[in-house]
């Protein structure tokens, strides 16, 4: 099967006063039709920038996509004209952003914002677009659509605004939706409603979804495949099961260990990822996770480990020691480790490092 979207060796940089920030530094992945792919990472890992680069929504200056191919249904989006790109954005690829209040226009009615795309991309007249808008609001579970179409964003709750965003993203029957932290600003019960809605609609309409999030629980519940990003690179990639039950990169292992679990009684202290994320203007030739990595050896300083197969079923990790780590990660993947005497002091040591690292 040909992938719907294939990103090859994408590089996006920002030129800032402090130097060149390599926000996305050689990212490659693909999305199959109808599939849900999660991009996981912390602030500054490049997860949002890599997604914005797909739609070429990087403000230039200061940003620039310096290298890479973005093949969408076989066409390279990097080679399209601005007018052709406008047909893709909101047409074949829909977007759902984090903050529904700032991504909707406050001075236009919901109806106007929903029909704009239909008139632009589908050439519908006002009446047809209006009818389609009512249909879309029904689809995303908004009661009394005719009245809602005349309202402004501030008259709706956060959850409802996010439903509107999803309706807009779906308006032109896209093949792919990119959702950038779609529920981070929402309360947990509303987050659950929105995610269930997105899951149901993407399945029903066979739309592929790239979901960008820092929430490991959301990924576990909804994603087929997962790409873990750190400092502008994908450090591990695989099925959700492989990533959670057989992690092959020290960062993934550390991330999974650092979150407390709701479904289990407290076992022990949390095991945080030591230190701070690196300054992206000052990356050296070695692995960028090296300073925080407890598996690091000399070779890690010499060159960036490439993303290579590790384990079965397309599982990949960018670590020279991924095979050794897989054994260790497997041994204590479940957090059920016994408390070692040294664990109790781990926090203090690294706490001092935090101060000195900066």
């Amino acid at each position: 099967m040909q992938p719907l979207l294939e990103i090859r060796d994408l590089h996006t940089e920002f030129r800032t006063g402090a130097g060149i920030v390599r926000a996305v530094d050689g990212v490659s992945y693909s999305v199959d039709p109808g599939e849900t792919v999660a991009i996981v990472g912390e602030s500054g890992s490049g997860k949002s920038v890599s997604a914005m680069s797909i739609l070429r929504l990087i403000p230039d200056p200061p940003g620039r996509i310096t290298q890479g191919e973005i093949l969408f249904t076989g066409r390279d989006l990097m080679g399209l004209s601005e007018a052709e790109m406008r047909q893709i954005r909101g047409g074949e690829i829909g977007m759902v952003f984090q903050e529904p209040m700032t991504s909707l226009n406050p001075v236009l009615t919901i109806g106007r914002q929903l029909t704009e795309g239909l008139q632009q991309h589908r050439g519908m007249d006002r009446i047809a677009a209006q009818n389609r808008a009512v249909e879309l609001l029904n689809l995303v579970g908004i009661a009394d659509p005719a009245r809602r179409l005349k309202q402004y964003p501030h008259q709706l709750s956060g959850g409802m605004r996010q439903r509107i965003m999803i309706a807009i993203a779906l308006a032109c029957d896209p093949k792919l939706i990119i959702a950038d932290e779609p529920t981070t600003a929402l309360d947990v019960t509303i987050q659950a409603q929105i995610l269930e809605l997105m899951k149901r609609l993407t399945q029903q309409l066979n739309v592929a979804l790239i979901i960008i999030t820092h929430n490991l629980g959301v990924v576990a519940r909804y994603a087929n495949r997962v790409n873990v990003m750190y400092a502008g690179r994908i450090v591990e990639s695989g099925t959700a099961n492989a990533i959670y039950h057989d992690p092959r990169h020290p960062y993934t292992i550390a991330l999974l260990r650092s979150v407390p679990r709701l479904d289990r009684p407290r076992q022990m202290r949390l095991d945080p990822v030591e230190g701070q994320p690196p300054d992206l203007t000052r990356l050296d030739d070695g692995c960028s996770f090296r300073p925080r990595c407890r598996f690091a050896i000399d070779i890690c300083a010499a060159s960036q480990p490439p993303l290579t197969p590790s384990g079965d079923g397309g599982h990949m990790a960018a670590c020279f020691r991924s095979d050794a780590i897989a054994i260790e990660g497997h041994a204590d993947k479940t957090f059920d480790r016994e408390v070692h005497p040294t664990d109790e002091h781990a926090g203090d040591e690294h706490a001092t490092e935090t101060g000195e690292a900066a």
Binding site: A192, E196, L256, L262, L270, G347, H350, A358
Partner: protein
């Protein structure tokens, strides 16, 4: 009162606390047109040395409760007994003395530190205000000590907040709260603004400090996983009321109130095998407005087990098992897990 009784008494006791904010109309003649019932009659206590979690979604009144305890708001009604003294009616001078004992850590490490002050001055200011350490040299030494207790380099005293990361700033906020050697700290979403890996560092720091200085925390948060990890007991709020209160493991493993159950089910856990195997249906609807809350039980419009009576009468809070309180008239036979 004997010493033994004092030791048994909870450090903080909140009884029938109400905080209603007026809504007015008109510019010259202000007319009262309504009230936001942010906190609408809650009771709980915090024992010495424990961490009590206060959880709920936006607008449930958890932050307002914290602000009332700090007396940043004057409650509409109710008692807040801190170490046996009702602080709801204290005058300015008595309040100043109280605030040496009760401190706060805020959510947003970006807006809660003055960007024009150096870190050393931010941490030193409470000591200056309360005239604890008038000597500037000694104060500076104490600031360096506090920074190092909070896992920061003492030289950070000369930095400005913008030169630090979010996690480091939150450590500064914690150092400031510790400056007066308080007994009780209201932690209002102290880790919500931080990245996952940094969040774990700050959670561990809060635990270490509690042990080291014998602190008592009221931990206000919406992240239930962090609450389970950090708190001995947990109170769940919904629309200005406490719907359930129990020991942490009891609450998370054996929730009784339909809202608590809905809230817990809504949180996905980081394990695909568990997530894929469960049949999950999110609770319907959204939180109603606290200006005009539903009659009877405030959760009844969204509740899967509501009966007619729930629309009429506010449910009593009952102790369904020792130390496990539920405000729901339909919960009768709390099952074991």
């Amino acid at each position: 009162m004997t010493a033994a009784l004092t030791a048994l008494r909870p450090l903080l006791e909140v009884k029938g606390l109400r905080m209603h904010f007026p809504i007015t109309e008109g510019i010259v003649a202000r007319r009262l047109v309504g009230e936001v019932k942010a906190v609408d009659g809650i009771d709980f206590s915090v024992r010495r040395g424990e961490t009590l979690g206060l959880v709920g979604e936006s607008g449930c009144g958890k932050t307002t409760t914290g602000r009332c305890i700090l007396r940043l708001e004057k409650p509409t009604a109710g008692e807040i007994l801190y170490d046996g003294v009702d602080i709801a009616g204290l005058d300015r001078k008595a309040l100043l003395a109280l605030r040496r004992r009760i401190q706060v850590i805020f959510q947003d490490p970006y807006s809660s530190l003055n960007p024009r002050m150096k870190v050393g001055d931010i941490i030193g200011e409470p000591m200056h205000v309360h005239a604890i350490e008038p000597d500037a040299t000694k104060r500076a030494a104490r600031v360096r000590e506090l920074l190092s207790v909070c896992g920061l380099n003492p030289n950070f005293a000369d930095r400005y907040p913008h030169e630090m990361s979010g996690g480091q700033r939150q450590r500064v906020g914690i150092a400031r709260a510790l400056a007066l050697e308080p007994e009780f700290i209201v932690c209002d979403e102290p880790v919500s603004a931080l990245d996952v890996s940094i969040q774990a560092q700050v959670v561990n720091l809060l635990e270490d400090l509690r042990e080291q200085f014998g602190l008592t925390y009221l931990f206000i948060a919406h992240d239930l996983s962090v609450v389970r990890h950090l708190c001995q007991r947990v109170a769940v709020m919904y629309l200005g009321r406490i719907v359930e209160l129990a020991d942490s493991d009891e609450l998370f493993d054996n929730p009784q109130h339909p809202y608590t159950k809905a809230l817990l089910a809504a949180v996905p856990v980081p394990d695909p095998s568990i997530e894929r195997s469960r049949d999950f249906r999110p609770v319907l609807g959204e939180v109603p407005s606290p200006i005009n809350p539903p009659s009877g039980c405030v959760f009844h419009p969204r509740c899967p087990i509501a009966v007619d009576a729930c629309k009429r009468a506010r449910p009593e809070t009952r102790e369904v098992r020792p130390g496990h309180f539920v405000a729901c008239s339909e919960v009768r036979h709390p099952g074991h897990h």
